[in-house]
């Protein structure tokens, strides 16, 4: 039961500090410690970063700055802040001059903002209460998917990059307990992310309490923590790799990527001492993964992403790929049409397939992207009991290819194509003498690829 060998995959604190942090040199750490340096170097290397509005080195700079020129949407943060402390986010101008509105709607005056800046300058939020500098930068407009997951703060994506390969990632969601901070040890939530697909896997809160559900403020109900697909996943991985390219002195690096609604992935900071809880929310070991990419010489961005995808992808990654393959259909496909409940069709028992509570019948169908709606042969529809009063949705005038006008019923129908259940409205037509008694129109072909091989 107690098997220590299972723990060999994990990166322990001792090992991180003694072996992997040695790959981060002093100059690299100096860059990571200063948000300003990070921003400059990353921007130079083409990585997206929030735009810098101003930087105050001392009180003089602060007093010279004209706050009234700003329109709102800015963030004030200490340059060498720690753990997300001392960050002030201003949403817009207040009602009166010299008044501003914070994210939670609270009012704050320019005087208060200045005082906050002075506190930062005095070193209230720096690690050893050393005097610090103030950064004023543009506010990130959070992607709506993430906005729905938290009330306060900015969710971000932590990607651990080692030897220029992304080895692990998690989505960090601030909670009320964490006070809007995205740091796990302050009580934020962490969801592991599959590197191949960008889909979340497991969730923890704080230092390791497992969570299974998260409240979706958009839909106003709980949803599972797994199965959330992160948008721009490839771009996020690319951004993370580019960060390590820009700061090669950090061989073992944690990149914090945020998703801007308009600008896509942007990097807030890089971390020279990434935490180890990421292993718990991914249920995977960092050590085993890093050892795998240790000797590999990464040739390009694509190579790195492919490595991450195939070395560290979850097993469901193949399933998803498989599923995508199974969406390929031929020009003639066999579909299964549902027979309405309580109807006894005049058919041989052998033709009817029973699956669960459904009864269905296999029919050959022609795929026709030239038609909008699917259509079914009148006689077949009649046999299956589909022409009963309640099944007919409405009648419509119908012009055949020869230009003659007919009146045809449109019926509600459920059928399965390649395992996908399709509930749709279908024209009833006279298809006697045609090769197939069912025709699938483009309305019901959404998400399928049609093979032209046969």
């Amino acid at each position: 039961m107690f098997n220590l060998r299972q723990y060999r995959q994990f990166l322990t604190k001792n090992e991180r500090n003694k072996i992997y942090l040695r790959k981060n040199t002093a100059s690299g750490k100096a860059i990571a410690d200063s948000k300003y340096k990070t921003k400059r170097i990353l921007a130079k290397n083409g990585v997206g970063v929030p735009v810098l509005i101003a930087r105050f080195k001392n009180e003089e700079d602060l007093n010279k700055f004209r706050w009234e020129d700003l329109e709102g949407n800015f963030v004030i943060k200490p340059e060498s802040g720690y753990g997300g402390e001392g960050i002030l986010i201003i949403r817009k101008r207040g009602k009166w001059a010299g008044e501003w509105q914070k994210m939670n709607g609270e009012k704050i005056t320019t005087h208060d903002i200045k005082l906050h800046c002075q506190e930062i300058l005095a070193g209230k939020y720096s690690l050893h209460t050393m005097s610090d500098k103030v950064l004023v930068e543009e506010r990130i407009k959070i992607h709506p998917l993430f906005l729905a997951l938290t009330k306060s703060g900015t969710p971000d994506i932590r990607v651990i990059v080692y030897n220029r390969v992304p080895v692990m990632a998690m989505l960090r969601i601030p909670t009320e307990k964490s006070g809007g901070k995205a740091n796990l040890h302050q009580g934020a939530m962490g969801l592991g992310i599959d590197l191949a697909t960008g889909i979340t896997t497991f969730g923890i809160e704080g230092r390791g309490e497992p969570v299974y559900q998260i409240f979706d403020y958009g839909k106003k109900k709980k949803r599972k923590v797994n199965g959330i697909k992160i948008p721009f996943w490839r771009e996020i991985l690319e951004t993370a790799i580019n960060c390590q390219k820009a700061v090669p002195n950090l061989g073992f690096m944690g990149v914090d990527v945020v998703l801007d609604k308009e600008k896509g992935p942007e990097v807030l900071e890089v971390n020279a001492r990434p935490g180890l809880s990421i292993q718990v929310c991914n249920k995977a070991g960092l050590r085993a993964r890093m050892e795998k990419v240790d000797e590999i010489e990464v040739r390009s961005l694509d190579h790195a992403i492919t490595l991450a995808k195939y070395l560290f992808g979850e097993s469901f990654f193949e399933k998803i790929e498989e599923k995508e393959k199974s969406k390929m259909i031929e020009s003639i496909e066999t579909i299964r049409i549902k027979i309405p409940k309580g109807f006894n069709p005049q058919l041989n028992k052998g033709i009817i397939i029973k699956k669960g509570k459904h009864r269905m019948m296999e029919v050959k169908a022609k795929v026709d992207t030239g038609a909008l709606r699917s259509s079914i042969d009148e006689k077949l529809a009649n046999k299956l009991g589909l022409l009963s009063e309640e099944k007919v949705l409405y009648y419509r005038h119908y012009k055949s290819a020869l230009g003659r006008a007919h009146e045809r019923p449109v019926i509600g129908l459920t059928f399965w194509l390649n395992g996908k259940k399709i509930v749709t409205a279908v024209n009833v037509a006279n298809r006697e003498g045609l090769r197939t008694r069912f025709l699938i129109g483009r309305k019901d072909l959404n998400g399928f690829l049609i093979s032209a091989k046969k």
Partner: protein, 260 residues
């Protein structure tokens, strides 16, 4: 984990009760003055000389115990996973406990912490600069301790009027570290580290207070030097898992090994 910590705490307090009343270490086994110097016992010979010349035995024992306690703290940190505020803080608090007794020390600390938290709550509203706020905080603590000292000298209930400035200073440092960690990291983290510091300090104080430990330190100082060196070289190269991490990563193990 919490139960374990509680258990350790209770055990420590039971043993600590022995030194609860201790005001200062008054020990100490007589130092044997060694005449024959054979190279291996140099340290012992030097200690003999020093004591003969009037260096206090007390100080010698404490000087030798300090690295031993630090070693204990580092071992507990890297192998067991019990962490406090750095290595010096628990060591210093252990020495403090030796002077004040565990209960007296905890009491003193509790008082300082309460004053500090109260004054911080008030100072936060005043929106002062950081350092002036700290200075006022210090003033509050000083005043509080002073009042308490005067008070206790009348009441004779707990006599802290005789405590020297150093235990008080160390406790103030600890309280400051606590509020700072609370600010910089999180409340939980600060609490955990505080608990860790206390446990480490109590364990250290209990170990230091054993008569035989003090005896061994004086009789075989060379052994202590070697022990400290060896243990720290081994611990310093340890890259394995900490006991506390086993619990942490237990949740990260999948029921079926699917790691690829």
């Amino acid at each position: 984990m919490k139960k374990l910590i509680l258990l350790i705490l209770i055990v420590c307090l039971l043993f600590g009760g022995k030194i609860a009343e201790a005001r200062a270490i008054e020990v100490i086994p007589q130092v044997q003055i060694v005449e024959n110097w054979n190279g291996l016992n140099s340290l012992r010979v030097i200690i003999g000389w020093a004591v003969e010349r009037g260096v206090s035995t007390n100080t010698v024992v404490l000087l030798l115990l300090l690295p031993l306690i630090a070693t204990l703290v580092s071992f507990l940190h890297y192998v067991v996973g019990l962490s406090g505020y750095g290595i010096f803080m628990p060591t210093m608090i252990a020495i403090t406990f030796l002077a004040t007794g565990v209960f007296g020390g905890l009491m003193l600390f509790a008082i300082i912490l309460v004053i500090s938290l109260l004054s911080n709550a008030v100072l936060k509203k005043l929106k002062l600069h950081f350092w002036p706020a700290r200075a006022i905080n210090l003033l509050m603590i000083s005043m509080g301790i002073f009042v308490l000292m005067v008070f206790s000298s009348f009441v004779k209930w707990i006599n802290i009027s005789q405590i020297s400035i150093f235990p008080i200073l160390f406790m103030i440092l600890l309280a400051e570290e606590f509020t700072r960690t609370q600010l910089v990291k999180s409340k939980d983290e600060a609490k955990n580290l505080m608990l860790g510091t206390m446990i480490l300090a109590i364990v250290g104080a209990v170990v230091m207070n054993f008569d035989w430990v003090q005896g061994v330190v004086l009789k075989y100082p060379d052994l202590i030097v070697i022990l400290v060196l060896v243990v720290n070289l081994v611990v310093g190269n340890y890259t394995g898992i900490r006991l506390s991490e086993i619990k942490r990563f237990k949740k990260a193990i999948r029921s079926k090994p699917t790691t690829r």
